[in-house]
């Protein structure tokens, strides 16, 4: 935990720092959703027939169902006809082939976000796919990855270059009938990342996608698909930000992961969508479906998430542990301040024998925020000797916020061992006093105690991002005490 005191001091001085708007000419569809909109998106992306048909099936299904209401979330109704389903910077719609062709304003945007895309300033050892509103505008290090046989490209590009892989895998982990938001996404998804790691390959660098919502009244519906073939390994990270706007914006993503025999995917998220202001005005509604299908024996998936932004978070990254001896892990830090709400957790579905899962969830609430952990551990009759360990801790700052825990367990095999531990504590007045007595300001003391509380999760993040995540936490909790 290398953050020095001075860094923290600078950090607590600032508010949401990604709230700027890029003034760029965009091609944006008028608000509204219908089959023509879907045809437009599909046509824009020059999609093969099977994909258009799948979108239309999804849309027709979506029209027959209702938003889920079981989460502990309250928000004004979402008017799906008041959202634009496609927005792209003018120039990017003609897919620039090299970085020189990318609009400098876009490059500047990513510079400001701390994600330099040009050759000279790139993050060493991290390949980045930059998704701006509905399109991917640039992907770095593609050549170097191709040498290793790794495909890392925008989803829409994969549709053109590898349609057989898309057709084979799309919707096989999260079917369009899975839930309301997954159905909507399947109908209107625009871009996202595609990753394919061939058999036996250890991806030579971290892969990362940076999602940016810019245009007003636009939803972002990205779709990510990662396939790890037998014996392969990849570490992937996504980051998310959006401008500060008074109205709410919808983000409904789907992420599908597939791990074959002996393969491993490490998927990390640092989610910092605009959370809304102190009165709860504006902010992103974040409804996300993420799931990994551990198809092969001894495969492994590890979800690590730091959820700091969004007005509303509805998200349950899950693991289907189908292969024998497969392993699922979920490490989560969720921070809610002011009027933010989060209902998040995971599902561990044990099907294969000797499957193991670990859930470590750390929830921090401040202000008048409400947060719920919702988790399901399901052990099928086939899952001989399955193991689950769940630890779920909540930390409250102040007495107007709330933490709730909803652990569900369905154990259908008597050899399974399922353990659950949960704690809720208020940040200790005695801990704060102890720190302050030693000379730490109240703000620094809170940061230190909270970071300590989250340590078991932060250590799962790739090094480069652990520091960023820590810093983000400090900013998110600014003004939470005193």
């Amino acid at each position: 935990m290398a953050t020095e005191n001075t860094d923290i001091e600078q950090l607590v001085d600032r508010k949401y720092r990604h709230g700027f708007i890029t003034d760029i000419e965009s091609e944006t569809l008028p608000p509204g959703i219908n089959e023509d909109v879907i045809r437009f998106i599909s046509d824009k992306k020059n999609e093969p027939e099977f994909l258009l048909n799948w979108r239309l099936k999804s849309f027709r299904y979506w029209q027959t169902i209702k938003e889920p209401d079981w989460a502990k979330l309250h928000h004004s109704p979402i008017d799906y006809q008041d959202i634009s389903y496609f927005s792209a910077p003018k120039q990017a719609t003609d897919a620039p082939k090299s970085m020189d062709e990318v609009d400098p304003k876009l490059l500047e945007t990513y510079d400001k976000l701390g994600i330099p895309l040009h050759e000279r300033a790139r993050l060493a050892g991290v390949a980045v796919d930059a998704v701006f509103d509905s399109v991917s505008i640039a992907t770095t290090f593609k050549g170097k990855l191709a040498e290793a046989g790794v495909i890392f490209c925008p989803f829409s590009e994969a549709v053109q270059d590898h349609p057989e892989l898309i057709e084979q895998y799309l919707g096989t982990v999260v079917p369009y009938r899975d839930n309301f938001f997954a159905a909507l996404n399947s109908a209107v998804f625009t871009d996202g990342s595609f990753v394919y790691i061939p058999k036996g390959v250890r991806c030579p660098m971290e892969l990362s996608t940076y999602f940016r919502i810019n245009e007003a009244k636009t939803g972002q519906f990205e779709r990510t698909l990662i396939i790890a073939e037998e014996g392969s390994h990849v570490s992937y990270l996504e980051g998310c930000t959006a401008p500060m706007r008074d109205e709410n914006q919808l983000h409904a993503a789907v992420v599908e992961l597939v791990t074959m025999k002996d393969a491993e995917i490490k998927y990390s998220t640092v989610q910092n969508w605009y959370p809304g202001d102190e009165q709860g005005r504006g902010g992103i509604y974040n409804f996300v479906t993420k799931r990994c299908d551990c198809r092969g024996a001894n495969s492994k998936v590890s979800w690590t998430q730091v959820e700091a932004g969004s007005a509303i978070t509805w998200k349950y990254p899950s693991c289907i542990l189908r292969g024998d001896n497969s392993v699922g892990e979920f490490y989560s830090v969720a921070v809610t301040n002011n009027l933010q709400q989060a209902d998040t957790g995971t599902k561990m579905i044990h099907i294969g024998a000797n499957t193991r899962s670990t859930i470590i969830s750390k929830g921090i609430s401040a202000g008048r925020a409400q947060q719920s952990y919702r988790g399901l551990v399901k052990i099928f009759p086939t899952a001989e000797n399955a193991r689950n360990y769940t630890q779920c801790d909540s930390l409250l700052l102040g007495d107007q916020c709330g933490a709730h825990t909803f652990p569900y367990m369905e154990v259908k095999n008597p050899t399974a061992i399922v353990e659950h531990e949960a704690t809720t504590s208020k940040i200790g007045e005695d801990q704060l006093f102890y720190c302050r007595q030693r000379g730490l300001s109240e703000e620094d003391a809170v940061n230190m105690i909270v970071n300590g509380f989250c340590k078991d999760v932060f250590r799962e993040l790739p090094m480069e991002f652990a520091v960023e995540a820590q810093a983000l936490l400090n900013v998110s909790l600014e003004g939470a005490v005193g």
């Binding site: 001075t6 006093f433 720190c435 007595q437 000379g439 730490l440 300001s441 109240e442």
Partner: protein
């Protein structure tokens, strides 16, 4: 350094605990405060360090001419006040050495000094941990987490030795220590004793005073200092028990 407590009245949750306590402490002095359980020793220590929940209803505390009661806990720390806790607090997930470095740098910053560099800090930590016979492993653990009672107390004195306070208040740092640990703690204090530093040793037993020679011994009972004397007062107390002093007033 000059600490001047005058006619201090303190209430906790509506009950008056300190009822007119006066005490003056100057640099170079070692004061021992003894008293029965529940007499208000920790209350005094907490009020000096600025803990919330204590209401000062009457009296004053001046520290180097400033009104101590106006200062936040961290400001008091920057001004050189250190409290060794009777019950040191655990902070899970926060590395002991990291914590200490942050504390030291916070203090240095407010004194207008540059941050200590990593090498100088490690050297300092090594030197002081040897003095306190603290295992290096122990430095890598979370603050006080899973420490035994004795380890926690030694850690307090270790922190004190790194932070080099002007006024150190040690609240029952000797309680629960075996004789070897007691000697280590006493050695730590004796090493730090100097003309520009003062100690207030809160203790229930006179045993600590076999190893640290106090300049003054005060007896706190019923919310006041009821007796002040030298080392011999502590021995008398040991012989006769606290009833002797309290009934003697």
């Amino acid at each position: 350094m000059k600490l001047n407590i005058k006619d201090l009245h303190v209430s906790v949750a509506g009950t008056e605990i300190l009822k007119g306590l006066s005490l003056a402490v100057s640099s170079g002095e070692v004061h021992a405060i003894m008293g029965p359980n529940g007499s208000g020793k920790s209350t005094l220590a907490h009020v000096l360090a600025g803990r919330e929940g204590y209401e000062v209803t009457r009296g004053s505390i001046s520290y180097n001419g400033a009104d101590l009661l106006d200062m936040a806990p961290e400001e008091r720390a920057w001004a050189g006040i250190f409290l060794g806790f009777q019950y040191p607090i655990e902070i899970p997930g926060v590395n002991n050495t990291y914590f200490l470095k942050a504390a030291l740098n916070a203090k240095r910053k407010h004194l207008g000094q540059p941050e200590i560099d990593a090498i100088a800090f490690l050297k300092l930590v090594r030197e002081k941990s040897e003095l306190m016979e603290i295992d290096q492993k122990f430095l890598k653990r979370s603050v006080n987490e899973g420490f035994s009672g004795g380890e926690k107390k030694r850690n307090e004195v270790f922190q004190m030795s790194v932070l080099e306070p002007v006024l150190a208040i040690l609240d029952e740092t000797d309680s629960g220590l075996d004789i070897d640990a007691l000697k280590i703690v006493a050695n730590g204090v004796n090493t730090l004793r100097s003309d520009d530093r003062a100690f207030v040793l809160i203790t229930h037993y006179q045993r600590l005073l076999d190893y640290i020679q106090p300049d003054f011994v005060h007896v706190l009972a019923e919310g006041k200092i009821v007796r002040t004397g030298d080392k011999s007062l502590a021995l008398e107390l040991e012989d006769q028990g606290y009833d002797w002093v309290t009934t003697g007033t």
